[in-house]
């Protein structure tokens, strides 16, 4: 169990809105081992984003324990959590969140700018390597507004990879993309998984679960299902089966 990258025990999260209390998470527990590709599913409002924010050290649970890479997060201060995010976590958002008018390379370098142990030379080298990994070696100096949605999300994934995180957290990462591009991004995630990365992918789309190694289903702040997927579909094959894009 201590070998788990993520270990949460009876996590609860309450939001106080006016005089009412919203119980977004009502006791969630699981462990995630290195190399897993987990999808967290559930309808809108089931608590997926709340859970992901806690896993991503952006939010702290009302109660329950959280160990990230063996370190207890719950008692950490704001600044320590910021450092933790910087070194151990890679975020991918639904709406990419690239800096406007900024090149792909600079966007990917961004997390390393907040890490004083990385020299500017290293920063550049690692950003270029990350962009190569997501297949954008020829788009490095393109500005974010000159790229398609799929390309922008690849840049965002490169940004999540550049600090060599112990876990990649994606919240509806394909939510803004058409189905073909979604499969391209899924192909990329599957490749990263194959290379040994640990990924948590939040989605409300059950189809995406078929491409991951483990599926956790949330409902009203409870886990209703947690199963290992033995029959993983290949996104690359689905992509090959799709009708070719008109030129």
């Amino acid at each position: 169990m201590s070998a788990n990258i993520i270990q949460i025990n009876d996590i609860r999260r309450d939001f106080v809105v006016g005089s009412e209390t919203v119980h977004a998470l009502r006791g969630v527990s699981f462990g995630i081992a290195p190399g897993e590709f987990v999808t967290i599913m559930g309808t809108s409002g089931s608590g997926k984003s709340t859970l992901l924010n806690i896993l991503g050290c952006l939010d702290t649970p009302t109660s329950g324990d959280y160990y990230l890479d063996g370190v207890s997060v719950r008692t950490m201060g704001k600044n320590d959590r910021a450092t933790l995010r910087n070194r151990k976590i890679g975020f991918v958002f639904q709406s990419y969140n690239l800096l406007p008018k900024t090149t792909a390379l600079e966007n990917v370098e961004l997390p390393l700018l907040y890490n004083p142990t990385v020299s500017s030379h290293d920063r550049r080298k690692r950003a270029m390597a990350a962009l190569e990994e997501v297949g954008l070696h020829d788009r490095m100096s393109h500005r974010s507004n000159q790229m398609s949605g799929g390309q922008q999300q690849r840049v965002a994934i490169a940004r999540a990879l550049v600090n060599d995180p112990v876990i990649i957290l994606a919240d509806e990462a394909t939510g803004n993309l058409d189905s073909r591009t979604s499969f391209e991004i899924l192909t990329l995630f599957q490749r990263l998984h194959a290379e040994g990365r640990t990924i948590i992918f939040v989605t409300h789309n059950p189809e995406i679960a078929e491409f991951s190694s483990r599926n956790i289903t949330l409902r009203d702040g409870h886990i209703t299902e947690d199963k290992v997927n033995t029959d993983i579909r290949s996104a690359a094959e689905v992509l090959a089966g799709l009708p070719k894009e008109e030129e």
């Binding site: 924010n53 952006l58 939010d59 704001k78 995010r85 969140n97 800096l99 997390p111 700018l113 907040y114």
Partner: protein
């Protein structure tokens, strides 16, 4: 996180919004430029007034008959005759804090030579007058004690008078001119001093022995004034006290009673005019300072807009590891860069404007190094001060809400 990276981030953000950055800077530019040029004008006129006062004489102290009165109250004729030659002699003999001293009587009138004439003033003084008023004899010589003793009809003329009476380049030395019908032989010509700051021609005068002016021209037995030089600027006050004491004793003025003469010194005049220009400088600088303040508010305004506009960016930066102080510093550095760059441009513009004022309008200007450093420092502080609040607001954003912000 080192400052180099933060500065890089801030510069990138400014680069993305060049025009807006420039407009924000404009407030600071105008503020700094006006502070610098206003102070340059104020200091320039102060310096020129001081220079003109000091060219009037060397630590000069002037004594006139009659009590010091304000508002032009008329004084009786007898009170205007209270200074006697013996008073001068007593001062010249007993006062220790003065280096030179002369009685003074003067008469305005018409100087005539042949067909040429000019209105001017004749000053009856002794040879100390030259050092007190910083005159020098250019050609010829000054009159001697012997001339004074026998009330000789000799004179030394200023350049303006010489030019008026001898327009065709004749040699004035040795010629006899008439002043109010009395003949005077020219024995010297003063080195020209030009106009003073109040536009007065300092070469439009004739100097003669005081005995001659007193007896032959005015037929009076009193003197109209005493001029003296204090040993130094610092001892000017002691010299005044000393001379007043001598005069009060001679005039038998009881303790507590008013003087029947008035003493003015150059330092007094200089500091009086100096304080007037100081006041003017302060007023000008205040107005300029207000425009700097307005510039600072402009920075605050734009930084606020910028923080709101970039809420998502702030959220993103926080989620990938930026701490609150990184965000604070990023925006603060941005504000400081705006005000700093505005300060540099403002200084250049202010110096340029001052120089332009000097050459176009001919006003005296003086740019004090401290005013440059001061306005530079003030505008950087303005950037920090007005950038702080918006930057603080940015740093306190909740990353989860910020990144969802639409």
């Amino acid at each position: 996180m080192n400052y180099k990276n933060l500065i890089k981030i801030a510069l990138r953000a400014l680069n993305n919004n060049k025009f807006r950055g420039f407009l924000t800077m404009l407030g600071i530019i105008i503020g700094v430029a006006s502070v610098i040029s206003m102070l340059a004008i104020g200091q320039g006129s102060k310096r020129s007034i001081r220079a003109q006062i000091s060219e009037m004489g060397s630590n000069m102290i002037m004594i006139h008959p009659g009590a010091e009165r304000f508002g032009g109250v008329r004084q009786s004729a007898s009170s205007m005759q209270s200074l006697k030659l013996e008073d001068y002699e007593a001062i010249a003999r007993d006062a220790d804090y003065i280096s030179a001293c002369t009685p003074s009587v003067n008469s305005s009138g018409q100087a005539i030579y042949g067909a040429n004439n000019t209105p001017t003033t004749m000053y009856g003084v002794n040879e100390d007058y030259l050092s007190i008023r910083k005159y020098a004899v250019g050609e010829g010589e000054f009159f001697t004690d012997a001339d004074t003793r026998k009330a000789a009809k000799v004179c030394v003329v200023g350049k303006t008078v010489a030019d008026k009476l001898f327009p065709n380049g004749q040699e004035p030395l040795g010629q006899t001119i008439r002043f109010n019908s009395i003949p005077f032989t020219i024995i010297g010509i003063l080195t020209p001093k030009g106009y003073n700051s109040m536009g007065m021609d300092q070469d439009d005068l004739i100097i003669a022995p005081y005995t001659t002016v007193q007896k032959r021209l005015l037929a009076i037995n009193y003197i109209q004034g005493i001029y003296a030089s204090a040993l130094s600027e610092e001892t000017s006050a002691e010299a005044i006290d000393e001379m007043s004491a001598i005069l009060r004793e001679r005039h038998k003025i009881k303790a507590g009673d008013e003087d029947d003469f008035s003493v003015r010194s150059q330092e007094e005049l200089s500091s009086m005019l100096g304080s007037t220009t100081d006041l003017m400088t302060v007023l000008l600088a205040c107005i300029a300072g207000i425009s700097l303040l307005v510039g600072g508010i402009g920075i605050m305004n734009i930084m606020y807009v910028s923080v709101t506009e970039r809420t998502r960016e702030i959220g993103l930066r926080m989620s990938i590891g930026a701490k609150g102080r990184h965000i604070l510093l990023q925006f603060l550095i941005e504000a400081v860069i705006i005000s700093f760059a505005g300060g540099i441009i403002g200084v250049l513009l202010g110096v340029g404007a001052s120089v332009a004022i000097k050459y176009v309008a001919g006003w005296p200007i003086y740019i004090q190094p401290y005013s440059v450093i001061l306005s530079f420092g003030v505008c950087t502080l303005t950037g920090i001060f007005f950038g702080w609040y918006p930057a603080q607001k940015a740093a306190q954003l909740d990353p989860i809400e910020a990144i969802r912000y639409e």
